[in-house]
Amino acid sequence: MKNLPTTCPSCSSKLAVKRLHCEKCETEVEGLYSLPVLASLSHDDQEFILEFIKASGSLKEMAAIFKVSYPTVRNRLDDVILKLKQDAKTK
């Protein structure tokens, strides 16, 4: 499946969902829905958050899984938190 675009290629504004489609019964729903907060993150950041949850929020475990140091993982998490805060401010 293709990556979900979150910003407008023309003006760089945040995109919203206008149409949803059921692959099974072909039903389509139209409206104006905002994208989930985590969708604004890059694919890498989303994967990082997913792994973080799977590791029960343990930075030590994350460091062991990815064979990097504890501060490297923590700095990456700090970067993601900063992005989410900045995103919340722009809304």
Binding site: D44, E47, M62, K67, V68, S69, P71, T72, N75
Partner: protein, 206 residues
């Protein structure tokens, strides 16, 4: 995921703290500091300041070992305070002190480079030139050549240590940019003064 960095040689040499921090870094770093002190005692190489290396004076082994530990603690504690002030996130003291200890590992090479007796002889000859002005002092050209060759190796090694110290500060405290560089330089100068005073006190005591 990008977190699994390729273990590039440049990263391992200049920013190993991406992979190692905390207690393992502290253990390896302390071992390297003590090894540098031990080898330094054979060649009378003193690390008598965070950024200082001097060859010459004889001293008990304990002095050589303590000098490296003083240098590490002075810079570690100063950067810990600066990091607490400027970092926007929390960080572990163990990471900063551990990576600062490991940042000193190239001092082992500095101690090894300082081993040839020619360096001690030339240092002594230079000292005599300074302390006995006007006196006729014979300088062995081979000693001078070996001394300058050793200096040419030591200077890049010292630069490497400083680069590692900065990376340790940046990674452990999660600080970047001008603020990080400015506080690092200030911290380095402050720690240099502190370590000089502490080493002077140590030498006076012994």
């Amino acid at each position: 995921m990008n977190l699994t960095h390729d273990r590039k040689l440049t990263t391992l040499l200049f920013n190993p703290f991406v992979y190692i921090a905390g207690a393992p870094a502290l253990g390896l770093g302390l071992a390297a500091i003590l090894l540098a002190g031990l080898i330094g005692s054979w060649g009378h190489t003193h690390f008598d300041g965070v950024l200082d290396t001097h060859i010459g004076a004889r001293a008990p082994l304990g002095v050589f070992l303590a000098e490296g530990l003083i240098d590490w603690l002075c810079l570690g504690l100063v950067l810990l305070i600066f990091g607490k002030i400027i970092s926007k996130t929390s960080f572990r003291t163990l990471d900063l002190l551990g990576t600062q200890a490991l940042a000193r590992w190239p001092t082992v090479f500095i101690s090894l480079v300082s081993l040839p007796k020619a360096l001690q002889r030339f240092s002594q000859e230079l000292l005599e030139q300074l302390t006995k002005p006007g006196a006729k002092i014979v300088i062995n050209p081979w000693d001078a050549l070996i001394f300058f060759a050793a200096m040419m190796v030591m200077l890049p090694l010292l630069g490497w240590v400083v680069a590692l110290m900065y990376k340790s500060y940046s990674v452990s405290c999660n600080v970047k940019g001008g603020k990080a560089i400015g506080t690092f330089i200030g911290g380095l100068l402050l720690a240099e003064i502190m370590s000089k005073v502490a080493v002077y006190g140590l030498l006076k005591f012994t």
